[in-house]
């Protein structure tokens, strides 16, 4: 491998990491606030892809505009779903199997509605950007990758703003840290949970739209990305926002550079195995692991 190859791979890994972070963040906020493992995340990623696709095909809307529209649209969807599921999605202190299975049922429903509406064929969103590249000397960057990365980063920056500068965002962070005292100081837990659910789904939908710009998709689109989202949030320590970036980066780097070690046909197994390893070896995420190491050294 030449240095240029290495740089090319590194850049594509970084671009991928940004997209992954946008993909996984929706799962983290929902898990953080109500400890629901949102298996239906896969379904909303898929719906987001078709949302952007349909707007593009039928209304000729630019895909990035579609992604932007996905935020409010899926926010509303998320709030409605949360309302409809009612006591099935309580704010709990521990993830439960009941809510896991409920979200799994929802995923099945969404996925197969997808099949009924769009059939089993792969679709793709093609724009002039899709195959364009930008060259810096010997380094080539796919234009679409850059655009998707930029959109992901902008949306994450917006989220960061919401979390730190708005009352809603502060309630979310407070809930993640200590839901017991939240009730005492009068944070409306249920309402915050509903909006958080909406927020998580909004990000899932928009991220699905972004991913659809990079990969062809079918109603089963979400499954591999669901597993990747798991890997990321587990590596990140499950409910930490900065952890999501660390997790995304690790996964993207591992996936990108493992082609030197693992034959490409085994490639998909990497994130799956990484998931199992991360769950078992890193119960507190990478940060938790680092903290444990530090405290061990201190003693």
């Amino acid at each position: 491998m030449t240095f240029v190859d290495f740089l090319n791979l590194l850049i594509s890994a970084l671009l991928l990491a940004g997209t992954y972070a946008a993909m996984a963040i929706g799962m983290t906020v929902i898990y953080g606030v109500m400890k629901i493992v949102n298996l239906a995340h896969a379904g909303f990623l898929m719906l987001g892809a078709y949302f952007v696709y349909e707007l593009h095909e039928r209304a000729g809307l630019h895909p990035l505009l579609g992604v932007l529209l996905a935020f409010p649209a899926f926010y509303v969807v998320g709030v409605l779903v949360h309302w409809a599921l009612g006591r099935g999605v309580p704010v709990s202190d521990k993830p439960t199997l009941a809510s896991l299975l409920l979200m799994f049922g929802l995923w099945l429903v969404l996925q197969n509605i997808g099949y009924l509406v769009w059939g089993t064929d792969d679709r793709a969103i093609l724009t002039p950007m899709t195959f364009a590249t930008i060259r810096f000397g010997e380094i080539t960057i796919p234009k679409i990758g850059l655009v998707v990365f930029a959109s992901a980063v902008i949306s994450l920056a917006a989220l960061e703003f919401v979390l730190h500068r708005t009352w809603f965002g502060r309630s979310i962070r407070a809930l993640i840290q200590n839901r017991y005292s939240c009730r005492i100081v009068g944070i409306p837990v249920e309402r915050t949970a509903r909006r958080t659910f909406g927020l998580g789904i909004a990000f899932a939908g928009a991220a699905g739209g972004l991913l659809a710009l990079l990969y062809p998709f079918s109603p089963d689109f979400g499954r591999p990305f669901l597993l990747r989202s798991f890997v990321i949030i587990v590596l990140g320590g499950l409910e930490s926002f900065s952890g999501v970036f660390v997790g995304s980066l690790i996964l993207a780097l591992v996936e990108t550079f493992s082609i030197f070690i693992v034959p490409s046909s085994y490639q998909p197994a990497i994130s799956f195995s990484l998931l199992v390893v991360a769950l078992i070896v890193l119960p507190g995420g990478v940060a938790g692991f680092a903290a444990r190491m530090r405290s061990r050294r201190a003693e």
């Binding site: 493992v37 439960t96 199997l97 299975l101 034959p263 046909s265 799956f272 078992i280």
Partner: protein
């Protein structure tokens, strides 16, 4: 009253074994009616489903450890039987062999993943299942993704398959009853209720979960093996695919998890729906299952069995009320 329902002592009700035995007898005599080949096929597939469903329930129901990864065992069983038969083994020897292979695999899966609890275990099993599928898709000696064909030099007799399936389902139910009533089963229930409290009562949760996993895996693998011989052709997507694992989980959840008969009912429902709906509306059945799962979690976690019990209680109460002079 509800407590008495929960622990029906077999000794106290010796007649309780009769209905299942009568059912078994009826099913065994059913082919005398000269059913069409298609009905026999549906019944056969239902038996296979029941065996896997009852197997899953030993881990997922009795011990409360929900796994999305039973396609691993179903697939291993299918491939073990397939390769075994092609290597000249008696088919009936390949089923226990399939069970043994899967039990071994279940240890490999369980040793790391049972360190995790509840939902984390469930998620890890998704990873294990998908990783296994990828590996099997690439395995050359079984033909990789293009599948594997079984060649037997005996004529195909559908009734033989029918009875094999029936026996396997009966074995599974019998085993599940035995486990339920044993010390082992009591330990599993304790783990399901509260793993820490179980350990404080002297139960070794790790060992018992591994045991339940092994039994469940063996039954599921035997089901996979019996199915493979019938189908004569298997491919990784079909037997190792995520939808397979999902199907094995859905049956007991729909029928009623953590009961003896729930998984049987679920397996029956599933087998019939699968055959009747899949051909005509390929996606509708999964949509239906999704809706069912959501309804069950929201309104009746006991599944079909829970619904039946609730109805019975309701009827009994009505009758009681009408007896009382007001």
């Amino acid at each position: 009253m509800s407590a008495a329902e929960r622990s029906p002592g077999l000794a106290a009700r010796p007649l309780a074994v009769l209905p299942p035995l009568i059912l078994l007898g009826l099913l065994a005599a059913l082919p005398l009616l000269n059913l069409g080949a298609n009905s026999v096929k549906v019944l056969f597939l239902t038996f296979v489903s029941i065996a896997a469903s009852v197997g899953w329930n030993i881990l997922g129901g009795f011990a409360g450890q929900v796994s999305f990864g039973f396609a691993v065992f179903y697939g291993l069983g299918a491939y073990t039987t397939a390769v075994g038969i092609n290597e000249g083994l008696n088919p009936y020897l390949t089923y226990p062999l399939a069970g043994a292979v899967a039990a071994l695999a279940s240890l490999l899966v369980g040793l790391p993943t049972f360190r995790l609890r509840g939902p984390y275990f469930a998620i890890a099993t998704i990873g294990v299942s998908e990783a296994t599928r990828v590996v099997m898709t690439n395995l050359e000696f079984t033909g990789g993704a293009s599948g594997y064909r079984i060649t037997e030099h005996v004529p195909f007799r559908q009734l033989e398959h029918y009875f094999t399936g029936l026996m396997l389902a009966a074995l599974a139910v019998g085993l599940s009853i035995i486990v339920r009533r044993s010390r082992f089963g009591l330990g599993l229930r304790a783990i399901r209720d509260d793993q820490d409290a179980a350990a404080d009562s002297g139960v070794n949760p790790y060992a018992l979960k591994l045991g339940a996993h092994a039994i469940a895996a063996a039954l599921t693998a035997a089901a996979g093996g019996v199915y493979a011989r019938y189908a004569a052709f298997i491919d990784p997507e079909g037997v190792f695919g995520f939808p397979r694992g999902v199907g094995i989980l859905l049956m007991p959840v729909i029928g009623g998890v953590n009961t003896i008969w729930g998984p049987v009912i679920g397996g029956g429902v599933y087998g019939v729906i699968e055959e009747e709906l899949v051909a005509r509306f390929p996606q509708l059945h999964l949509l239906l299952y999704g809706v069912l799962v959501m309804l069950i979690i929201l309104f009746e976690p006991g599944g079909v069995v829970g619904l039946l019990q609730r109805t019975r209680r309701f009827v009994l109460r009505r009758r009681e009320a009408s007896w009382q002079p007001s």
